[in-house]
């Protein structure tokens, strides 16, 4: 790599330095916009005791669900984990810890983490089990709880197009958590469908500026659909 060129050619290079016990922030919503090849590489690496910050945990056999197969995840920070029988089994057996976090709070934790904000106050979760043990403050007559931001040793992100400098665009609702995840990794790895030359992406249309990104790799994607709902033509 030279200058701003962030492109790596193998998934070995893409995740070099990822070790057991690290925190990994992952983009994606359900199976939409997940970094599926980076997840597969983490499985192959066999690293364990990971803390994974992701809205969901994939399904059995796909997405982050594959990391449950060899018990690589110690803790999940997620808003919804209901699509996954193995997850349930490990949770009930006490082999897996889960920190359920409201979806908007989770997005904001990543955003704040990437923006150097250690904590923020939100009304979400006040008066619920989510508020237990958290500082409460009143602003303008309303109660808010303090939520701490998150950062990761690695962030794994799925983009649509990137240029060699790591500027990224996302496609449709595959954007979801990816832009926030991208800002919150010490090492942010983005896998994309297409890599173009600097200057080919319209600067004002870039979702994630390259300053957040350390490595870019081109992958091929299955893009599995979770709920295939159709109408008659």
């Amino acid at each position: 790599m030279a200058g701003f060129d962030k492109v790596v050619n193998t998934y070995e290079e893409a995740l070099a330095g990822l070790e057991s016990g690290m925190t990994v922030i992952a983009g994606g919503f359900g199976l939409c916009g997940i970094p599926e090849n980076l997840i597969a590489r983490i499985k192959q690496m066999g690293v364990k005791d990971l803390t994974i910050v992701s809205n969901n945990c994939g399904v059995d056999g796909f997405g982050l669900g594959v990391l449950l197969e060899d018990r690589q995840i110690r803790k999940m920070i997620s808003s919804y984990v209901g699509e996954n029988a193995l997850f349930e089994k490990q949770l009930l057996a006490g082999e897996l810890e889960v920190e359920l976090t409201p979806q908007g709070t989770l997005a904001e934790k990543m955003r704040a983490g990437g923006a150097g904000i250690p904590a923020f106050f939100t009304a979400t979760g006040f008066g619920t089990p989510v508020a237990e043990g958290k500082e409460v403050r009143e602003f303008n007559g309303r109660s808010y709880i303090m939520e701490e931001s998150v950062t990761g040793d690695f962030a794994i992100v799925k983009g649509w197009k990137a240029d060699r400098y790591g500027n990224v665009m996302y496609r449709h609702t595959a954007q979801n958590f990816n832009p926030m995840a991208a800002t919150a990794g010490k090492i942010t790895v983005v896998e994309v469908e297409e890599i173009v030359e600097p200057g080919e992406l319209e600067p004002s249309q870039i979702h994630t500026p390259g300053i957040y990104v350390q490595r870019v790799i081109k992958g091929t994607f299955e893009k599995r659909i979770e709920q295939r709902t159709l109408r008659q033509a």
């Binding site: 359920l100 008066g127 609702t173 893009k223 659909i225 979770e226």
Partner: protein, 218 residues
């Protein structure tokens, strides 16, 4: 007769106003989209990052990168926008959504809502529900009035862990339209053929019954 799922959706749809941005929860709330009055424009917000959600796609339109918050494949209407989860929840938490419709296990006279967790059963997570109830001013909860065993779900105090505290003002059950004010449910409308007595019997929380309780018509 208790309201059908479709009738619940039809009654909620009467609360829509032209130009509303609306978030519809999974289940019955989703059906509200089928009853938007002719000539009225509303835009549906899906919390995974889509404002202007359209119908399900045809086979030709199907795209794995276009889903809604229920993880179903969808389309976007002309004039839609797509954005990140942080942007989506800025809309929700910042109070920019005009109407939120969602289901619940229990509500109580203080406007508390429990909808995400039954202790002892598997906890799957709250998704965006806590953000939605904390961020919206105008929320309609749709639910059955009582359980299959006849136990009221409209209580003086929720027994299940809360989704949000003091945030619910309007409830539509299969039996009645109620508002929550000053620590009580107020019976505003009843389902066709359902008596005030039946509603009183099935409401455990404090209930105020005005002199005249109109019957809904469909």
């Amino acid at each position: 007769m208790a309201l059908s799922r479709e009738q619940i959706a039809m009654r909620v749809a009467r609360e829509l106003q032209d130009g509303f941005y609306v978030n519809l929860g999974i289940g019955i709330p989703t059906l509200v989209a089928n009853y938007v009055p002719e000539g009225m424009e509303v835009m549906l917000q899906s919390e995974n990052g889509l404002l202007g959600m359209g119908a399900f796609p045809t086979e030709a339109e199907l795209d794995a990168d276009m889903i809604n918050a229920g993880k179903q494949t969808v389309t976007a209407i002309p004039g839609a926008s797509i954005f990140s989860s942080a942007e989506s929840f800025a809309m929700i938490r910042g109070g920019h959504v005009d109407l939120t419709v969602l289901g619940a296990f229990e509500v109580d006279v203080q406007g508390n809502i429990a909808s995400w967790m039954i202790p002892g059963k598997l906890i799957k997570g709250m998704g965006g529900a806590m953000d939605l109830v904390a961020g919206a001013d105008n929320i309609i909860v749709t639910m059955t009035h009582a359980s299959k065993h006849g136990e009221s779900k409209l209580l003086d105090s929720c027994t299940l862990p809360l989704t949000g505290a003091g945030c619910i003002k309007k409830v539509l059950t299969d039996l009645a339209w109620l508002e929550i004010e000053d620590g009580a449910f107020i019976l505003r409308e009843r389902a066709p053929g359902v008596s005030v007595e039946e509603i009183v019997a099935k409401t455990a929380g404090k209930l105020i019954v005005p002199d005249h309780v109109p019957e809904m018509t469909f």
